[in-house]
Symmetry: C2
Amino acid sequence: MVTNNNETMQQNIFYTFSKTIEFFSISPAEAQLFAMLYLKEYPMTLDEMGQALGKSKTAIGTSIRTLSELNLVRRVWKKGIRKDLYETHHDLYSKFMKTYINNWISHTNNQKALLSDVYEQMNRTNLSEEETQLLNKLTSIIEFHQSIIDTFTTIDPKKN
Amino acid sequence: MVTNNNETMQQNIFYTFSKTIEFFSISPAEAQLFAMLYLKEYPMTLDEMGQALGKSKTAIGTSIRTLSELNLVRRVWKKGIRKDLYETHHDLYSKFMKTYINNWISHTNNQKALLSDVYEQMNRTNLSEEETQLLNKLTSIIEFHQSIIDTFTTIDPKKN
DNA sequence: TTATACGTACAGTTTAAACTGTACGTACTT
DNA sequence: AAGTACGTACAGTTTAAACTGTACGTATAA
């Protein structure tokens, strides 16, 4: 980090921040869009975002739709502007971590339910050795799922 | 879930389990390899794994190398067998969650350090309004990183 | 009413990851 | 020593995700 130039520092912040966002299972394009939008002080149009990132309006449309569905950005109305405007939510931790943990918990609960269904079907008397072993494996896998759920349930994403 | 057939149930367990493994930022191919290997009761060769998953030995070689680097599987020696044999580690929660959380913490620490470097370079007197705003944004982003680290540090992955 | 702006659907293209098949070097067996 | 087995390097192929450019329907402005 040898440069003092504002533009380069902003680029470094943007890039570093976007890499962290990627860790929340967000695609590089979406992460960069969010990071760039967060660093701007004003809501942007699809054209502006496309120009800032060097991408087509279609690609921006797709990415902003995903970010919007993830509740990370919101539409903004501004008088006299007919283009769609978007800005980011500002409570980073709450937005990212809450969604991320909820995804983990709901997915893992779904998987655990499926596995428990299989367990109920298999769990009877007169099992072969092979079936008993499979049932034991299944028990371990279900416990694994429960441990994941327990872990993420203990995190308090309301903290910010 | 309407079928009682053993093979189908094993397939359901395999598939459901592999989908959960993918959530740990492990690729579908690697997740499926791990899930299949975990459900087997014996160490397997590259050929056997390739045949079981319907993939080439090269693809298996690549995937097993990654799983090995992640410390999720280990090489096994068996007298009289010259082929490489691999089996999974059995402590699922510890292996997956520990690695996963360590990745989060180390990555986020690295990013935070980079951002703090930028902060030290920017933090001086006589800042323009633009620079002040960028510095404020940077402060929020650094706090975001710290919150992530705090969150994952509180998780105890030794539980199983 | 006509022309223009806008976002998005759509078809096609590009890119990167994942894959296959071949060939090679090394180890093992005969 | 020669032949075979084995894992992996390598080049090429396939696949799915991400992208572009065009066209369309709707809304807005003139």
